[in-house]
C-alpha cells in the first residue's frame, strides 16, 4: 500500500533557527499517528508545513502520490487536508451551526450570490450530522463565542471535519481540558479515526497512548524515534529527552 502522506527531507529555517530539520515522515491510509516532543521541538511548524500555511526551506511533501509542497493553503485544503488548531480558531460571532455549515459549504458554493444559504440541504444536513458527532447539536443556535472552552475545542474539530478531509491534523485537541472533557475528546478522536487518517500532536501521554497506532518523536526539529506506542515507551533515548519523569 502507498502511504497517504510522505515528507522527504522536510526542513524549515527561521533565520538561524532550524525549526524542522530534515524530517522523513509517512502515514498510511486509516492510521492514527502521534507526534510528540518537548516544547519547541517543531511539532506545530511541521503541521503548518503540511497544511501549506508556511512553505518549507527544503524538502518535499507528497499527498496521495502528488507533490503538494508548493500549493497554497486553500488548495491543500481542497486536496483533503484539514487542521484543528491548538489555539481555538473558530468564527466567534456566528452560531455553532453556522460555524460548521460555512466550513462544509467551502467544498461547493462559494460564489453563489442568489440562493438562500440554508436552502442547500445537503450542506445543512452534513453540518447537523457533524454537530451530532461532536456532541454539540443542542447548542446549534448559540453564538460560538459563548461556548465553554472544551466545547469550543470540539467545535474546532467539527469545522475541520466539515471540509470533508481525508487527512485530519489535530494540534493538541485536549490542551486545557478537564479530565471529563479530555475523556470525551479521546472518544471523539477514536470515532473519527475509524473513517479518517489522523495525525495528532499532543502532550498528554494518556491520549497519545490510547489513540495512536504509531508515534513519532521530534527533538530540536529532528526526528528522534519512530515506532509503536510500545517501542516508544521502551526507547531509552526518548525517555531521556522527553519522557523522563513522565509516568506512562
Amino acid at each position: 500500500m502507498e502511504p497517504m502522506l510522505t515528507t522527504i527531507g522536510l526542513t524549515k529555517n527561521f533565520g538561524g533557527l532550524t525549526a524542522v530539520n530534515n524530517v522523513n515522515f509517512s502515514i498510511y491510509p486509516g492510521d492514527a499517528q502521534s507526534i510528540i516532543g518537548p516544547n519547541g521541538a517543531g511539532k506545530s511548524t511541521f503541521f503548518k508545513l503540511i497544511s501549506g500555511e508556511i512553505k518549507p526551506s527544503r524538502g518535499k511533501i507528497m499527498f496521495n502520490g502528488k507533490d503538494i509542497t508548493k500549493l497554497p493553503q486553500t488548495k491543500v485544503s481542497h486536496r483533503g487536508i484539514a487542521v484543528a488548531y491548538q489555539i481555538t480558531n473558530i468564527f466567534p460571532l456566528l452560531t455553532v451551526f453556522e460555524n460548521v455549515r460555512v466550513a462544509a459549504q467551502s467544498r461547493k458554493t462559494t460564489f453563489n450570490f442568489w440562493s438562500k444559504a440554508e436552502s442547500h440541504s445537503e450542506i445543512s444536513d452534513q453540518a447537523l450530522h457533524i454537530l451530532e458527532e461532536i456532541g454539540l447539536i443542542q447548542f446549534r443556535h448559540d453564538i460560538a463565542a459563548n461556548l465553554s472552552h472544551g466545547d469550543q475545542k470540539r467545535l474546532e474539530i467539527g469545522i475541520a471535519l466539515a471540509t470533508k478531509p481525508e487527512l485530519l491534523l489535530l494540534d493538541e485537541p485536549t490542551a486545557g481540558l478537564s479530565p471529563t472533557e479530555t475523556r470525551q475528546t479521546i472518544e471523539l478522536i477514536k470515532n473519527i479515526s475509524e473513517h479518517l487518517t489522523i495525525i495528532l500532536v499532543e502532550h498528554k501521554m494518556t491520549v497519545v497512548m490510547e489513540v495512536s497506532d504509531k508515534i513519532t518523536v521530534l527533538h530540536y526539529g529532528s526526528l528522534l524515534a519512530q515506532g509503536s506506542p510500545e517501542d516508544i515507551r521502551n526507547n531509552e533515548e526518548v525517555r531521556r529527552v522527553y519522557l523522563g519523569g513522565v509516568k506512562m
Binding site: S51, N89, L94, V102, W114, S121, S124, D125, I159
Partner: protein, 340 residues
C-alpha cells in the same frame, strides 16, 4: 433531520414570552426591507422639509454600500469618497456630454463605481487592517487630485456645473422628477432595489462567506476559501452601490463638487456607519438620519457645528460602540433576558 434543519434555518432565538418592544425588534430584524420600505414611504411627511429626507436616504444608501465592506466583511476603507465621487462625476459627464437619459446615467455611475473599486480594490486588498485603510485613502486622494487638475472634464475646483434637469424617460411617456417629493420617491425606488439585492446576496452562500471572513480570515482560508477574492468581490459590490449613491446625489444637486472625492467624504461615511451601527441594514440609515439632521440643526446655529457633531461621535464610539441601532437591539435583548 428535516425538522432540525428548519429550526436551524430560523436561527433567531425566539423567547417564550415577548414584550411589545421585543416583538417590534424581532419583526424589524426579520423583515428589515419590508419595514424600511414602509417607513421610508411615510418618512418625507415627518421631516422638516423633503429635501432633507432625500439627502438622508441617499447618504443612507451610500452607508449601506460602505457597510458591505466595514460591517459585513470587516474591511475598514478610508477611501470610499472615490467610488461615490466617481459615480457623481460619471452621471454628470454622461448627462452633459453623452446622452440625456437618467437611467443610462445612473447605470453608468453604478458601473464606474464598481470598476473603480475593481481596480483600486485589486491594489489594496492584499494588505490588511491599517495598511488597507491607508492604501484606500491614498488612492482616493489620487483621484481627487486628478479631478482637481483635469479641468476640461470635471470643472476642477469649480466643480461640474449645469447638469441638465432631464425628465425621467419611461416606456411611452416621461415624468418630471425634479419636484422634491417625486425625486424622493425616485431615489427610494433605488434604495429599495439595493436593499432587496443586498439582502439576497447576504443570505446567499457568498454572504455567509463574507461573515466568516470578517469573523476569522485565517480560519476561512484554512477551510479552503480564497479570502482575498472574497474581499475583492465584496469591495466591488460596495463600490458599485457607492457609485449609485453618488450618481443620485449629483442628480439631486444638479452639480458635482470637487469635495465629493475629498477624504472628508470618506470620513463622513465612516462616521455615519459607525453612528448608526454597522452590520445591519437599518443602522446606516439611522446614522445618515442622525448625522444630517444634526448637521441641519447645528449649522443653522453656528458655523462650527462640526465641533458638536464630533463630540457626539466620540461619545458614541466610546460608550455605544455598537452604534445607535446596535445599542437599541442590545438593550431590548437584555431587558427581555432579565425578565426570563
Amino acid at each position: 433531520m428535516a425538522e432540525l434543519q428548519s429550526q436551524a434555518a430560523h436561527a433567531a432565538t425566539t423567547p417564550a414570552v415577548m414584550s411589545p418592544w421585543d416583538k417590534v425588534v424581532n419583526l424589524v430584524s426579520r423583515y428589515p426591507v419590508a419595514f424600511m420600505t414602509l417607513f421610508f414611504i411615510l418618512f418625507p411627511f415627518v421631516v422638516p422639509y423633503q429635501a432633507l429626507a432625500t439627502q438622508i436616504i441617499i447618504w443612507g444608501l451610500f452607508a449601506l454600500g460602505y457597510n458591505v465592506c466595514l460591517g459585513y466583511t470587516g474591511m475598514l476603507s478610508f477611501g470610499h469618497a472615490a467610488y461615490f465621487g466617481v459615480g457623481s462625476y460619471t452621471l454628470g459627464i454622461v448627462l452633459i456630454r453623452l446622452w440625456e437619459n437618467v437611467w443610462f446615467g445612473l447605470a453608468c455611475a453604478t458601473f464606474m463605481g464598481g470598476i473603480t473599486a475593481l481596480v483600486l480594490g485589486y491594489l489594496c486588498i492584499k494588505r490588511r487592517g491599517i495598511y488597507f485603510a491607508l492604501l484606500t485613502l491614498a488612492f482616493a486622494q489620487l483621484l481627487y487630485f486628478v479631478a482637481f487638475q483635469w479641468v476640461n472634464l470635471t470643472g476642477g475646483d469649480n466643480g461640474l456645473r449645469n447638469i441638465p434637469a432631464v425628465p425621467l424617460a419611461l416606456p411611452g411617456f416621461s415624468v418630471d422628477i425634479h419636484d422634491p417629493l417625486r425625486f424622493y420617491f425616485f431615489v427610494l425606488f433605488f434604495v429599495v432595489l439595493a436593499l432587496l439585492l443586498l439582502q439576497r446576496i447576504l443570505q446567499s452562500p457568498f454572504g455567509r462567506v463574507l461573515e466568516a471572513v470578517r469573523e476569522n480570515d485565517p480560519r476561512a482560508r484554512s477551510c479552503g476559501y480564497e479570502t482575498s477574492n472574497v474581499r475583492w468581490l465584496a469591495f466591488i459590490v460596495s463600490g458599485a452601490i457607492s457609485g449609485l449613491a453618488g450618481g443620485l446625489y449629483a442628480l439631486y444637486l444638479h452639480f458635482v463638487g470637487i469635495e465629493s472625492l475629498y477624504w472628508v467624504t470618506s470620513g463622513q461615511i465612516l462616521m455615519i456607519t459607525l453612528l448608526g451601527g454597522m452590520g445591519s441594514f437599518i443602522g446606516p440609515f439611522i446614522g445618515a438620519g442622525v448625522f444630517l439632521f444634526l448637521e441641519d440643526v447645528l449649522s443653522a446655529i453656528t458655523v462650527n457645528w462640526m465641533i458638536f457633531l464630533g463630540t457626539v461621535f466620540i461619545l458614541c464610539v466610546l460608550f455605544f460602540p455598537d452604534g445607535i441601532w446596535g445599542t437599541f437591539v442590545k438593550l431590548i435583548g437584555r431587558k427581555s433576558a432579565l425578565k426570563r
